[in-house]
């Protein structure tokens, strides 16, 4: 059982999706989906506990050894990220099961395929397989984005699909260049081949620059981030909440490729440009948040802001920075998702005004106001919640790096802008009412949506209380991530002789 554990997070959503496609009955699909994601949480949690012994678990698909076959590699990073995906997936599905899934067809199978793509992208140890899982994730996300219909979603969908198709083309060019120069696409084997002489260094550099650019498109690095705010604004609340982890896939991919392949062979590839662009993204996102006219747009800009903040970390190539980045990543994903779900609930209770920042009817469910306060405090990185802890850890870890001063100034200034924005816009949502207006009658929130939203919001306080265990786990994860030698030998030792130029025709 233990030997087959790494494949389970991919098999469970796959089987669930197939089962859901057999019967279009909504209650059946909901039950299967919730059961599968609950099982996924347990399995990935178990995997995370297993992975904490620091041993690299390599699963060779079809038992083809590492450089020839495709491998799944479970280290602490992969296991921890799959647990995060599973938890987020379960709560978002619980929210969506309260009625959102009725607004279009095939929501449930697509949701499982989206999880499949996300989990596969975290677990795979092969670059071409990473491309395939990216495409599964994207294809599901294209359809989920359009779920619920409406011109705004179709319009946002077109630019999102076109951009990502161009991104996929660039991804394939990068992969072709890597295979052409190094003769392998397995990440560990690529790292091994990069350390040897006898390949065209400028071509390999170009290939990795393209690869990083593709990941940066997914993560929303500035010149490539204009699609993100309006796409996330157009998506339905649960879909946007699930999308909150999609930018993180790009960031984790950059971190992993940087730590394993680039740091030993071409450590200067990310220098001077990635951090600058990431800081520009932070400024852009803070200004965008300030200019947002509705809550969902504001949250989309905040997701971009957290992505920009995280993108300052890969170029530092330090385990301490990565450890802080991983804590920040976990808490910002959960906070972003919670905020999207909450925006959905708030918008529903305000009638025609929806989530626009203008005076409207008072909120019927009073707990939403407290929930807004908690999640806004987390998102604005104010004490005492996890946003604050994450930002303090990130800034502390970067006090000694070269660009540290610039990062401190930009991140703190943008934090101030976000705080002011949230305070201003929160007043509109919670306190400003038209004279003598009464709460609207309408659908109640319901226990499913309330539970899902509350649990995600509770992550803010809980991750602050449990900051020590999580940051210790992040530190161990980062230490494992920044030991590329162990990764390469761990993956390749499971197989036979490595490939290389000599082995090719």
């Amino acid at each position: 059982m233990n030997a087959n554990a790494p494949i389970l997070p991919i098999l469970i959503p796959l089987l669930a999706a197939l089962l859901q496609m057999i019967s279009g009955h909504l209650r059946f699909q909901r039950a299967v989906g919730l059961l599968a994601t609950a099982l996924l949480v347990l399995v990935t949690g178990w995997l995370t506990l297993l992975a904490d012994d620091g041993v690299l678990r390599v699963y060779a698909l079809g038992d083809w050894p590492a450089p020839f076959g495709i491998v799944l590699v479970v280290d602490r990073l992969a296991a921890g990220m799959s647990l995060l995906t599973a938890v987020l997936g379960f709560l978002v599905l619980l929210y969506a099961s309260a009625g959102f899934d009725e607004r279009g067809v095939h929501f449930h199978p697509l949701f499982q395929f989206q999880l499949l793509g996300l989990l596969g992208a975290f677990l795979t140890g092969d670059l071409f397989n990473l491309f395939v899982f990216f495409e599964i994730m994207l294809l599901a996300s294209y359809v989920l984005l359009a779920h619920g219909g409406g011109l705004a979603r179709t319009r946002a969908g077109i630019s999102y699909v076109v951009l990502n198709l161009v991104g996929s083309a660039l991804f394939l060019i990068a992969l072709g260049l890597i295979y052409g120069t190094l003769g392998t696409l397995n990440l560990a084997d690529v790292a091994r081949a990069l350390a040897l002489p006898g390949y065209d260094r400028s071509l390999a550099r170009l290939a990795f620059a393209l690869l990083i650019a593709v990941f940066a498109l997914k993560a929303g690095l500035l010149p490539l981030s204009f699609w993100l705010p309006h796409t996330y604004t157009a998506a339905g609340a649960p879909v946007a909440a699930l999308f909150a982890i999609m930018t993180k896939v790009g960031i984790v991919a950059i971190l992993r490729v940087q730590a394993i392949a680039l740091a030993p062979a071409m450590p200067d590839l990310l220098d001077n440009w990635l951090t600058t662009l990431a800081l520009a993204t932070v400024v852009f996102a803070a200004l965008g948040a300030l200019a947002a006219v509705r809550l969902r747009a504001l949250v989309a800009w905040l997701v971009l802001l957290s992505a920009g903040t995280l993108l300052t970390t890969p170029a530092q190539a330090s385990a301490e920075v990565s450890a802080a980045a991983l804590y920040y990543l976990v808490q910002s994903t959960l906070a972003g998702a919670a905020f999207f779900l909450l925006a959905g609930l708030i918008s529903e209770q305000r009638g025609k005004v929806a989530d626009q920042f203008m005076a409207g009817p008072p909120l019927r469910a009073t707990w939403l106001r407290i929930a807004f306060l908690v999640v806004a405090t987390t998102a604005a990185a104010l004490p005492p919640f996890s946003g604050f802890v994450g930002k303090v850890m990130l800034l502390t870890s970067m006090r000694d790096v070269e660009a540290g001063m610039a990062i401190w100034v930009v991140v703190l200034m943008s934090g101030f802008i976000v705080m002011a924005t949230l305070a201003r816009d929160g007043c509109y949502l919670i306190w400003k009412h038209k004279a003598a207006s009464r709460p609207l009658t309408g659908d109640p929130v319901g226990w499913r949506r309330a539970t899902a939203t509350m649990l995600l919001i509770a992550a803010g306080p809980l991750l602050a209380i449990g900051a020590r265990p999580l940051s210790d786990y992040s530190a161990r994860t980062a230490a494992q991530l920044h030991a590329p030698g162990a990764y390469v030998t761990g993956v390749l030792a499971a197989g036979a002789t490595p490939t290389g130029r000599g082995a090719r025709p």
Partner: protein, 108 residues
């Protein structure tokens, strides 16, 4: 043959990029198709060009690298699915908004 292939890839890419930058959805769709042809040829070429060599390893005989061919097959299937979805999405946008501009605000 290398020259011919690289010219073909270059022309396809140039046409693809030009069409993607158009403002209506149909040229964009065609552009993406051309770009994916170029990318598929490029992937194919990453295994080196060999004439009269099957992608099978037999004793003594010369053979072509089979991996890029498998990669190209995967890329073709994925690209085809994506393009089909984009076509449907573009049709839906056309029926909903009455215009086929990529970023249509109103009819122009």
């Amino acid at each position: 043959m290398e020259v011919l292939l690289s010219i073909a890839i270059g022309v396809l890419t140039a046409c693809g990029v030009f069409l993607i930058l158009r403002s209506r959805t149909f040229p964009v769709l065609l552009g993406l198709t051309l770009l994916s042809y170029a990318v598929n040829l490029f992937l194919f070429a990453s295994g080196r060009l060999r004439v009269d060599a099957p992608p099978l390893i037999r004793a003594g005989a010369s053979y072509a690298d089979p991996l890029p061919q498998a990669l190209v097959l995967t890329a073709i299937v994925i690209g085809f699915g994506m393009t089909a979805y984009l076509a449907i999405l573009a049709l839906r946008a056309l029926s909903e908004s009455g215009a086929d501009h990529v970023d249509t605000e109103q009819e122009r």
